[in-house]
C-alpha cells in the first residue's frame, strides 16, 4: 500500500481512517500471505550452513517512521528430509516446530553462514523474525515490545501462519528475541533472558533443572527431563606445540646467508592457528541419572561421548613470500637510476680509470678467483669515500653465490642441463614436475644466474638494506659482467647457445654477452695461433686446406696440379671440406664447402627492431625488393666464402650446395662423370637477386670479410643496456623470474601438505597461469601482479595453516589418512566431530595440548604467586570450561491436568561474561 506507488500517479493520499498500527499489521499479514504463495515457487536467497541449505526471504516494512525487516528462514534440506519420512508414513502427523531435537549446531567458519542464532538455540527449521532496521539500535520500552508482540500475535491468528514469529528486543548486539507460535492446539511462548553475569543458582545443572521445573509448573508429575550438555574449551596457548618461524635478522649473530638470502622466504611470522576450540557433548540424558553441582560433576570431558573441534585462524598474518613480491612490485615505482640511488658511492669512481695498471698487470686470462678478489677489493677501496650499502661480509658471499666459479670449494655450483642422477629420486621427480609446470614461463632456468640474481636482488631490497643495497648489488653485478667481457671469462649459469627467445630479456642479454665472449675468445686464440705460427715457421706454406684434408699422395698430386692452375692471387682459401663427391661444373675440381661466417645471434628486442624496419618497408613489390637486399648480407657472405674456397666456380656450383632443389639434374653425365644439370626456372629469371649477388660477390674467405656479427659492439650494447637500467627497470626485468622462483617454492611447500590440502594444486595452477601471462607480457601490469600476489598469499597462508595443524596433530609426519581428512576440514573452517572422542588418536593429541597449556598456566602461577606447583593440578587436563550449554526438554501437560502434552524447552548458555536463557514453553489452548 504505501510502497507500491504507481509512477504515473504522482499524487497519492490515503483517505482511509486506518491508524498507523493497523497499516503496520496489514502489511505484516500481507507479507506473510505472499510468502505462503511463494513457498510453492522457487527460492531466491540460499545460504548453506552446517545444518543444511537455508532459504532466506526478506521484506522491509514500516511502523510510522521506524523501519523493520521481516525475514523468513527455512531449512530446505531438513524439510526435504522430513518430507521423505512423512511420505513413508503416508499420514500427515501433527508436528510441533520444537520437536526437531536439534541440540547443538556445528560451528560454521564460512562468513556466508546463517546469521540468525535462533535456529541453533531452538533447533528450529522454519521461523520468521521481525528485526528493527538499521537505523534503530534498540527497542527497550515495555509498551513498544508489547505492541510488536501483539501485532505478531494478530498476524499469526489472521494468517494461520504455521511458523513461530520472533520479535527482536533490547539492544541489537544482545540478539534477544521474544516469540510466539500458535496452531489449533498449542501455543508456545518463546522467551529469552540475556545477562552479563550468571546468577548464583544457575551455575550448575541442578539449579537449572529446578528452575525449569518451577517454570513449567506442571499440575501432575513431570516425565524425566531430557538433558543435553555441551562443554566448550578454548585452547590458545600452544606451548611446545606452537608452530613458529623466525624472521631473518641481519644483525643477529646466527644470520645464515644460505637460508635467508639465497632462497625465498616462505610462511608466516606467527602461528597461523590462533585458537582451537574443543566441544565435548553429552546428548539426551534423563535428568535423574546425572549430577552436576558445585561440589561434584558427572561431566568429565575425557568421558564425553562426543568430541568436536574447530579452529580459529589468526587475522591476516604477514606472509613472507607474498610480502617479498609486494616489495618488488612497490619498487617498480622507484624511477631513479642505479647511480642516482648510489649517489657519491660511485659518482667519482669509474672502475676503469681507478686502477688502470690492473689492465696491464693482470694476466689476460685470469684465474677465476681473481674475479671475486677484484670485486671485494673494489668495494673495500671505495669504503673510504662513503659506506657501502652492502657490507663486504654480505656482498662477497652473495657474489660467490652468483659466480661460484670464483670459489673452488663452492657449495652452489651451477648444474644446468646436467644429468640430475646424483640427486635423490624423489627430489628429482619433483623438480621434473616443477620444470614441466613452469615450461610456459618466459623466464629462465631454475637456479640459473638470472634466477639467483632475482632472489638475492629482492632480498637486498627487502632485508639487506632496501633500494640502496639493491642498487649496489646490481652495480656490482654489472661490473662483474663488464669484467668478464674484458677478461674473456665466460659467464656461468647461463644456458649456452644463442639468445633463447623463450626466456626473459635478461637471460637473453646474458646469453648474448656469452656469445660475444665466446667469439672474442675464438678470435683471440686464432690471432695468437697465427702469431705463434708466424714466429715458428716463417716460410711454411700454410695452406689452410691441409687442416681439413688427409695428405695422401693422390690428394697432394691433385693439389700440385691445381696450384699450378690457379694464379697466385686466386689461391683457394677458407675450405671446410668436400661436398659429397661433386665437382665444379667448369673445372672438374672437387666442390668444397666454404668456412662461412657464423650466424648472427640476436636478442628479442633487436629482432623486434629488425621486424619493425622490415614492416615499415610496406608490403608492395618495392618493399619486397628492399627487404631482400637487407636480408642478403649473409647470402653475399656465403657466396664470397664459396668463391674463395672454389676458384673458378659458377652460380650453378653454388646453388648445388646452397639450394639443391634449384639445380635440376639430368640423366646424362658430363665430362667429370657427374650428372649434368641446369638451374631451375626461378634461378634463371633475369636479374634475380641471386644472379645479381653472385656477380657482385668477390672471392673473400670468411675471416677476411666484414664481420656480420661485431662481438665488441654487441657486447658493449649489452653492457650499456645493463648499466643504464633504472631500479624500476631492473625490478621489472626480475619480477617474472621472481614469480617463477616463488612458484617453485610454493610448489615444494604444497607438495608436503597435499594430503591435507588437496585444493592447493588447483590454486597453484591458477597462480602458474598468472605467472605465464605476466612473464610473457613484456611489461608489468600491476593488476595482474597484484592478482598473483593475492593468489600466492592465500595459498601461502593455507599451506602455513596446514603446516601448523599437521605439526600439532601429526607431529611424527606419519601418513594417517584420518588426520589428513580431519586437517582438511579444519582448514575449511568447519567444526569436525572426532570419532572415538578422547580415546582416538586425534583426541590424544588434543589432550596432550591441553595438558601442555595447563602446565604453562601453572608455571606462571608458580613464578608470580610463589605458589608451589601442585602436583595434583597436573591431573586436571582441562581448565574450567569456557562455555557451558545445557538443553532441557520435556513434554508436559499445561496448564491443566487434562491438557494435551506439549513440548517445553530451556536452553542455558553460560560463559565467562554472558548468560543466556532461551526458553520455549507451550500450553494447550483447547483444553485449559
Amino acid at each position: 500500500m504505501n510502497e507500491e506507488i504507481d509512477e504515473t500517479e504522482f499524487y497519492h493520499q490515503d483517505f482511509t481512517t486506518a491508524s498507523e498500527w493497523e497499516i503496520f499489521c496489514a502489511r505484516l499479514e500481507e507479507i506473510i500471505h505472499q510468502w505462503k504463495v511463494d513457498d510453492l515457487k522457487t527460492e531466491d536467497l540460499n545460504v548453506t550452513s552446517t545444518q543444511g541449505q537455508w532459504s532466506i526471504k526478506e521484506e522491509k516494512l514500516q511502523f510510522v517512521d521506524v523501519e523493520f525487516v521481516l525475514s523468513y528462514f527455512k531449512n530446505i534440506s531438513a524439510i526435504e528430509q522430513r518430507k521423505g519420512v512423512d511420505d513413508d508414513d503416508d499420514t500427515k502427523k501433527y508436528r510441533h516446530p520444537m520437536e526437531t531435537l536439534h541440540d547443538y549446531g556445528l560451528h560454521d567458519g564460512s562468513s556466508s553462514g546463517l546469521e540468525c542464532p535462533l535456529a541453533t538455540w531452538y533447533g528450529l527449521d522454519q521461523f520468521i523474525t521481525l528485526n528493527f532496521g538499521s537505523f534503530t539500535s534498540s527497542i527497550t520500552s515495555e509498551s513498544q515490545i508489547k505492541l510488536l508482540l501483539s501485532s505478531v500475535q494478530l498476524a499469526i491468528s489472521n494468517t494461520n501462519c504455521s511458523n513461530p514469529i520472533f520479535v527482536q528486543i533490547r539492544e541489537k548486539w544482545q540478539n534477544c528475541y521474544l516469540g510466539v507460535y500458535e496452531d489449533e492446539q498449542v501455543r508456545t511462548n518463546f522467551e529469552m533472558i540475556h545477562l552479563r553475569k550468571v546468577p548464583q543458582h544457575c551455575q550448575y545443572l541442578t539449579g537449572l533443572l529446578d528452575l525449569f521445573k518451577t517454570k513449567i509448573m506442571s499440575p501432575i508429575n513431570l516425565d524425566p527431563i531430557n538433558v543435553s550438555v555441551q562443554l566448550t574449551y578454548y585452547l590458545n596457548e600452544f606451548g611446545k606445540f606452537t608452530w613458529n618461524q623466525d624472521l631473518p635478522d641481519v644483525d643477529s649473530e646466527h644470520f645464515d646467508m644460505e637460508t635467508s638470502v639465497f632462497g625465498l622466504p616462505f610462511g608466516v611470522t606467527q602461528d597461523p592457528v590462533s585458537e582451537i576450540v574443543l566441544k565435548t557433548t553429552w546428548s539426551h540424558l534423563p535428568d535423574h541419572l546425572i549430577v552436576d553441582s558445585e561440589n561434584y560433576s558427572d561431566f568429565d570431558p575425557m568421558q564425553a561421548p562426543k568430541w568436536s573441534t574447530y579452529c580459529k585462524m589468526s587475522d591476516q598474518p604477514l606472509c613472507l613470500l607474498s610480502e617479498v613480491l609486494s616489495d618488488a612490485l612497490n619498487a617498480i615505482n622507484t624511477k631513479s637510476s642505479i647511480y642516482e640511488i648510489l649517489g657519491d658511492f660511485v659518482a667519482s669512481s669509474d672502475y676503469n680509470i681507478e686502477n688502470p695498471l690492473d689492465l696491464l698487470t693482470e694476466p689476460k686470462l685470469p684465474t677465476l678467483s681473481t674475479v671475486i678478489k677484484r670485486a671485494a677489493r673494489n668495494s673495500l677501496s671505495r669504503s673510504s669515500r662513503s659506506t657501502a650499502p652492502l657490507a663486504e661480509e654480505i656482498l662477497v658471499p652473495i657474489l660467490y653465490f652468483l659466480f661460484p666459479d670464483a670459489d673452488e670449494e663452492t657449495s652452489f655450483p651451477y648444474n644446468l642441463g646436467k644429468d640430475k642422477g646424483n640427486e635423490d629420486h624423489m627430489g628429482s621427480e619433483t623438480r621434473r614436475l616443477i620444470d614441466n609446470e613452469c615450461r610456459g614461463f618466459k623466464t629462465c632456468k631454475e637456479n640459473s644466474l638470472p634466477y639467483r640474481l632475482a632472489i638475492v636482488f629482492i632480498q637486498a631490497l627487502g632485508i639487506l638494506g632496501g633500494a640502496r643495497a639493491a642498487a649496489h648489488l646490481w652495480f656490482e653485478f654489472v661490473q662483474e659482467m663488464r669484467f668478464r667481457w674484458e677478461k674473456s671469462v665466460l659467464i656461468l649459469g647461463i644456458p649456452t647457445g644463442f639468445p633463447d627467445p623463450r626466456t626473459c630479456l635478461l637471460n637473453q642479454k646474458l646469453q648474448m654477452l656469452n656469445c660475444c665472449i665466446e667469439r672474442k675468445r675464438a678470435r683471440e686464440t686464432r690471432e695468437t695461433d697465427a702469431c705463434v705460427e708466424k714466429f715458428a715457421d716463417t716460410n711454411s706454406s700454410t695452406d689452410e686446406e691441409e687442416f681439413y684434408d688427409c695428405t695422401s699422395d693422390r690428394v697432394e698430386e691433385e693439389e700440385n696440379r691445381r696450384r699450378t692452375k690457379h694464379s697466385l692471387w686466386n689461391q683457394p682459401v677458407g675450405r671446410l671440406g668436400k661436398f659429397e663427391n661433386l665437382k665444379l661444373i667448369k673445372l672438374g675440381d672437387p666442390l668444397y664447402i666454404p668456412i662461412t661466417q657464423e650466424p648472427v645471434p640476436k636478442t628479442e628486442d633487436q629482432l623486434q627492431e629488425d621486424t619493425d624496419i622490415l614492416l615499415q618497408l610496406g608490403s608492395d613489390a618495392q618493399g619486397s625488393e628492399l627487404r631482400a637486399k637487407m636480408m642478403s648480407a649473409s647470402l653475399l657472405s656465403d657466396m664470397e666464402s664459396f668463391k674463395a674456397a672454389n676458384p673458378g666456380s659458377i652460380l650453378d656450383d653454388f646453388i648445388r650446395w646452397y639450394s639443391p632443389r634449384d639445380f635440376i639434374e639430368e640423366d646424362t653425365l658430363d665430362q667429370w662423370g657427374q650428372k649434368k644439370g641446369h638451374l631451375s626456372a626461378r634461378m634463371l629469371i633475369a636479374d634475380n637477386p641471386w644472379v645479381q649477388m653472385w656477380e657482385s660477390a668477390k672471392p673473400v674467405p670468411a675471416n677476411r670479410q666484414k664481420r656480420l656479427f661485431d662481438d665488441t659492439r654487441e657486447a658493449e650494447k649489452v653492457l650499456h643496456f645493463l648499466d643504464s637500467r633504472t631500479l624500476s627497470q631492473v625490478v621489472e626485468m626480475l619480477f617474472p623470474i621472481l614469480s617463477h622462483a616463488a612458484i617453485c617454492r610454493l610448489y615444494d611447500e604444497c607438495e608436503q601438505v597435499t594430503p591435507a590440502l588437496p585444493s592447493a594444486h588447483k590454486s597453484l595452477q591458477q597462480a602458474i597461469r598468472l605467472v605465464q601471462k605476466i612473464s610473457r607480457d613484456g611489461t608489468i601490469t600491476e593488476r595482474l601482479c597484484a592478482a598473483l600476489i593475492q593468489q600466492i598469499a592465500a595459498l601461502e597462508l593455507s599451506v602455513s595453516q596446514a603446516n601448523s595443524l599437521l605439526y600439532k596433530f601429526n607431529p611424527s609426519g606419519g601418513c594417517d589418512e584420518t588426520v589428513f581428512v580431519f586437517t582438511e576440514k579444519l582448514l575449511h573452517g568447519c567444526e569436525v566431530e572426532i570419532e572415538g572422542a578422547s580415546k582416538s588418536n586425534i583426541g590424544n593429541k588434543l589432550t596432550s595440548m591441553f595438558t601442555e597449556a595447563q602446565r604453562l598456566a601453572n608455571l606462571i602461577l608458580t613464578e608470580h604467586g610463589n605458589l608451589v606447583e601442585n602436583n595434583s593440578s597436573v591431573n586436571f587436563i582441562f581448565p574450567q570450561a569456557n562455555e557451558r550449554e545445557f538443553v532441557m526438554r520435556v513434554s508436559a501437560v499445561r496448564p491443566a491436568p487434562y491438557s494435551k502434552k506439549s513440548p517445553q524447552f530451556l536452553r542455558a548458555i553460560l560463559s565467562k561474561n554472558e548468560f543466556r536463557f532461551a526458553g520455549a514453553f507451550s500450553e494447550d489452548i483447547v483444553y485449559f
Binding site: 622490415l614 639450394s659 626461378r682 629469371i685 641471386w690 610473457r776
Partner: protein
C-alpha cells in the same frame, strides 16, 4: 596470453584499420611453393617461377570474420637450410603456421617432422599449425598420396589440406581455417581464465561465434 598482448601491441604500432591482427608464417622446404601460395592468396596471381625468397618477406591481407576485420600479416620464409637460423628468429609471436610440403617431392615430406620440431622449439606452445601438401595439380608426378599426408597430420595432431597455388585449389580455405582455429583457441584461453575476461580485451562475440566458416573446409 601472448595473443592478446601481441594483438594490442601490433594495433598500436600499425594502422588502426582493423580489429585484430594475426601473424602467420609459411614454412617448409625450399621450392615447395610457399611464395606462390602466398601470392595466390594475397594477390590472386600465379607465375610459374617466383624469385627464390631471400631470407624473409611478408604480405598483408585483411579478411572479415564475423564482422571483425582481421589483418593477416603473413610471413614468407626462405626454405634453404642455411636460412634456418634467420627465419626461426621470426617464429616468435606467430599465432599460426602453414607447414608446407610438395606432393611431388619425397624429401620435402620427410622434413615435415623437422619443421614441427622447429615450431615447437622456437614458437609459443599455443601457436596453431596446418599441414599443407602443395602442387596437387601435378597428379602425374605425385609421390606422396593424400592418405600419407592425412595420416601424418593426424599423427601430429594438426589439420591437413592438399592445395594447388597454380589451380587455386584450397588456398583460401587453408587461411580461413587457420584464422578460425586461432580465434577458437583465443576464446578458449579466455574462457579458461576469468581474470582475462574481466580485462575486456576481447569482445565476447568471438566466444559465441558460430562455426560458419567451417563449411568452406573441404579436404579435397
Amino acid at each position: 596470453m601472448v595473443f592478446t598482448g601481441d594483438v594490442k601491441f601490433q594495433k598500436d604500432a600499425a594502422d588502426q584499420n582493423f580489429d585484430y591482427m594475426f601473424k602467420l608464417l609459411i614454412i617448409g622446404n625450399s621450392s615447395v611453393g610457399k611464395t606462390s601460395f602466398l601470392f595466390r592468396y594475397a594477390d590472386d596471381s600465379f607465375t610459374s617461377a617466383f624469385v627464390s625468397t631471400v631470407g624473409i618477406d611478408f604480405k598483408v591481407k585483411t579478411v572479415f570474420r564475423h564482422d571483425k576485420r582481421v589483418k593477416l600479416q603473413i610471413w614468407d620464409t626462405a626454405g634453404q637450410e642455411r636460412y634456418r637460423t634467420i627465419t626461426t628468429a621470426y617464429y616468435r609471436g606467430a599465432m599460426g603456421f602453414i607447414l608446407m610440403y610438395d606432393i611431388t617431392n619425397e624429401e620435402s615430406f620427410n622434413s615435415v617432422q623437422d619443421w614441427v620440431t622447429q615450431i615447437k622449439t622456437y614458437s609459443w606452445d599455443n601457436a596453431q599449425v596446418i599441414l599443407v601438401g602443395n602442387k596437387c595439380d601435378m597428379e602425374d608426378e605425385r609421390v606422396i598420396s593424400f592418405e600419407r599426408g592425412k595420416q601424418l597430420a593426424e599423427q601430429l595432431g594438426v589439420e591437413f589440406f592438399e592445395t594447388s597455388a597454380k589451380e587455386n585449389v584450397n588456398v583460401k580455405a587453408v587461411f580461413e581455417r587457420l584464422v578460425d582455429i586461432i580465434c577458437d583457441k583465443m576464446s578458449d584461453s579466455l574462457d579458461a581464465d576469468p581474470t582475462l575476461g574481466s580485462a575486456g580485451i576481447m569482445p565476447t562475440r568471438l566466444t559465441n561465434a558460430p562455426q560458419g566458416a567451417q563449411a568452406a573446409n573441404c579436404n579435397c
